[in-house]
């Protein structure tokens, strides 16, 4: 579902070209997105060459680039039932804001989550509240509110699958996902 979701977002924001470019960048691994459209089907051989070197990494400004640059700081964590932004969260969000300022065209969705040890409906609201905390902090750092949306999954999308304190701590989170 997340993929179809971000797909519709892309179409909505009119960045179809970017999406195509992003897909090409993965196969061509060019450091700059090619400006031309994909080749016509036919004798062209470029599409069947996914090998021109893997060392260059993700295309700057892409979600893959964001995730790689953040090195885990695309996610902030919360205490049980809490939604406040602590010092560690602030560092992570500052790093996110810096990236978002570098790519002012980029929009992002902040996905809020809760652990499994709460009731379903409350956790939906709690996830929303956590995502909103992260959003507000990013706005305070200068990211335009219009670039940020929130989305709560409550307790429905755990990342750690255990039923213990450690897993629950990992699941009480807000994840920033930039929109390619």
């Amino acid at each position: 579902m997340p993929s179809s979701l971000s797909m519709s977002r892309n179409l909505k924001s009119g960045s179809t070209l970017l999406l195509v470019a992003g897909a090409l960048a993965l196969s061509a691994c060019a450091s700059k997105a090619p400006k031309e459209l994909p080749p016509e089907p036919g004798p062209a051989r470029t599409t069947t060459q996914p090998d021109s070197g893997e060392a260059l990494g993700p295309r700057p400004g892409s979600q893959a680039d964001f995730a790689a640059q953040m090195m885990g700081d695309d996610t902030i964590y919360f205490d049980t039932d809490k939604y406040d932004i602590d010092a560690m969260d602030q560092q992570a969000l500052a790093k996110q804001a810096q990236w978002l300022m570098t790519y002012p065209e980029k929009r992002a969705t902040i996905e809020g989550h809760a652990d499994e040890r709460g009731t379903r409906e409350y956790n939906l609201a709690l996830g929303e509240r956590r995502a909103n905390s992260a959003k507000n902090y990013l706005i305070s750092l200068g990211v335009a509110a219009s670039r940020l949306t929130t989305l709560s999954y409550g307790k429905e999308r755990p990342v750690a699958l255990g039923s213990n304190e450690q897993a629950w701590a990992q699941n009480r989170r807000a994840v920033t996902v930039t929109i390619d």
Binding site: D81, R117, R120, Y122, S152, E156
Partner: protein
């Protein structure tokens, strides 16, 4: 688009059954063939909360007989085979809910058609039966089926109650539920509840990629159907009081949003168009109002809108924090809901217009998902203190007591007569969810038969 067409297909399949019965309007008790006036006698003075005596009541449920063993359009076979199947529905309804310990129909003598209205009392008292249920099936020329159901007091040697129902072939199980309801009501003095349906969320797949689909079933788990394809996550359904619609939350648009799913037109629409997430839908008892909760800027509040659609939602709560859910008192004058304005989830009551909001839960821990009993006397809720457990309290917040004791039980829903509570239980580790029910003693607990994992049960009213 793909999602929508799949939805429509699922609906076409599911709509035919209930639609037939409701539109033809034939599901009314009628006095049928063998006549014998039911005599007034006092019902047994018992309640579910004190069931030790009447569980020992010997109720013999015999195979329903027929005037002519002819083929039917049901999956059960001929009228004779159908009679056996219907009596099995009656027996399992009464048995599975921990209300009685009935015997039969297997292993009991089979009454003749003539004996249905003139029981062999001596035979049954010799078998140790206190009560006797007999019945018959008659096939009409138009394919409809007439089912008669008779309850006798063997010790007194007299009839207690009888009923007859004309059903479409696809609805034959309802005749069994109606008969079980008749027996249950007559012997307990309580309102019926077997002939009712349950909406819930069917769950499949691993814990991190679980598919959640809207599904419905009869109160005993039969006639199960999926209503959505699973491409968009569905949560928290609620049947409308007339069974024509289901409110539920879907991620169809990306944001969690409340939809009204129309079971007669096989379509759904947003109850309120907004970019904010909407959740926790509820009906008013008369079906005229819908409550939903909407998040905005991190806050969540409860709103009221007409179920007909249109109009501006009226906000009933005004923060701070998360105010969510809401369950009307049976007379529609009050709403019990959940709020963390005090710092943690607690249960509050307000007037239906949002005035006079008062906290009623003071039990330590957190209290969530309150649901007002259709009888009005109790509020069921989830109590969180380490584990999640289902509990009940009075509408004033007194006499709190647990009904369940497990690792994670949540989201109670009441049987139409307010005597049984269903909820869902999550297994530690796997996260697998199953629907359970428990009576008000907390002693008679059982798992509902569902084809896959199941959560968020929502019990509808008794069917007319």
């Amino acid at each position: 688009m793909k999602t929508l067409s799949a939805l429509a297909l699922g609906l076409l399949l599911c709509a035919s059954g209930p639609a037939l019965a409701q539109s033809s309007g034939t599901f009314t008790p009628e006095i049928t063939a063998p006549t014998q006036e039911a005599q007034e006698s006092d019902g047994l003075e018992v309640t579910v909360s004190d069931d030790s005596d009447w569980q020992d009541l010997g109720i013999a449920i015999t195979t329903f007989t027929t005037d002519a063993d002819v083929p039917t359009q049901t999956t059960a076979g001929t009228t004779g085979q159908l009679g056996h199947a219907i009596s099995q529905v009656v027996a399992s309804d009464l048995k599975n809910n921990g209300l009685f310990k009935p015997s039969g129909p297997d292993g009991l003598p089979r009454p003749t058609f003539g004996e249905v209205s003139a029981p062999n009392y001596r035979l049954w008292s010799g078998n140790g039966a206190d009560m006797l249920v007999q019945g018959y099936v008659h096939a009409g020329n138009d394919g409809t089926l007439t089912v008669g159901c008779y309850l006798y007091d063997v010790a007194l040697g007299q009839p207690l109650e009888k009923g007859g129902w004309k059903v479409a072939p696809s609805d034959w199980r309802r005749a069994g539920h109606k008969c079980a309801d008749m027996v249950y009501s007559r012997l307990s003095g309580e309102s019926p509840f077997f002939d009712s349906r349950i909406a819930y969320i069917a769950e499949t797949g691993s814990k991190d990629h679980r598919m959640k689909r809207l599904a419905v079933m009869d109160s005993d788990g039969a006639n199960h159907r999926y209503l959505t394809s699973g491409q968009a996550m569905a949560l928290t359904p609620r049947y409308s009081p007339d069974y024509s619609k289901i409110l539920y939350l879907s991620y169809l648009n990306g944001q969690p949003s409340v939809y009204a799913y129309d079971l007669t037109t096989n379509s759904q629409k947003l109850i309120f168009r907004t970019t904010n997430p909407t959740m926790a839908p509820r009906w008013s008892p008369d079906g005229k109002w819908v409550l939903f909760s909407m998040s905005q800027g991190g806050r969540t509040d409860i709103y009221r809108i007409t179920s007909a659609g249109g109009g501006t939602p009226e906000r009933l709560t005004n923060g701070p924090g998360i105010n969510i859910g809401g369950s009307y008192s049976p007379d529609g004058s009050k709403i019990v809901f959940e709020s963390d304005r005090s710092g943690s989830q607690q249960v509050y009551v307000m007037n239906a217009d949002g005035t006079n909001q008062k906290r009623i839960s003071f039990f330590g821990g957190r209290s969530a998902t309150p649901e007002w009993s259709p009888r009005g006397d109790l509020i069921a809720f989830t109590h969180i203190a380490g584990n999640l457990r289902v509990a009940v309290m009075s509408p004033a917040g007194r006499n709190m007591r647990y009904l369940t004791d497990s690792w994670q039980d949540e989201a109670p829903t009441w049987s139409p007569n307010g005597r049984i509570v269903q909820f869902f239980r999550t297994q530690r580790g796997s996260g697998e969810a199953t629907i359970w029910q428990v009576d008000l003693t907390g002693r008679n607990e059982r798992k509902l038969p569902t084809p896959v994992g199941a959560s968020d049960p929502a019990w509808g009213p008794i069917r007319r």
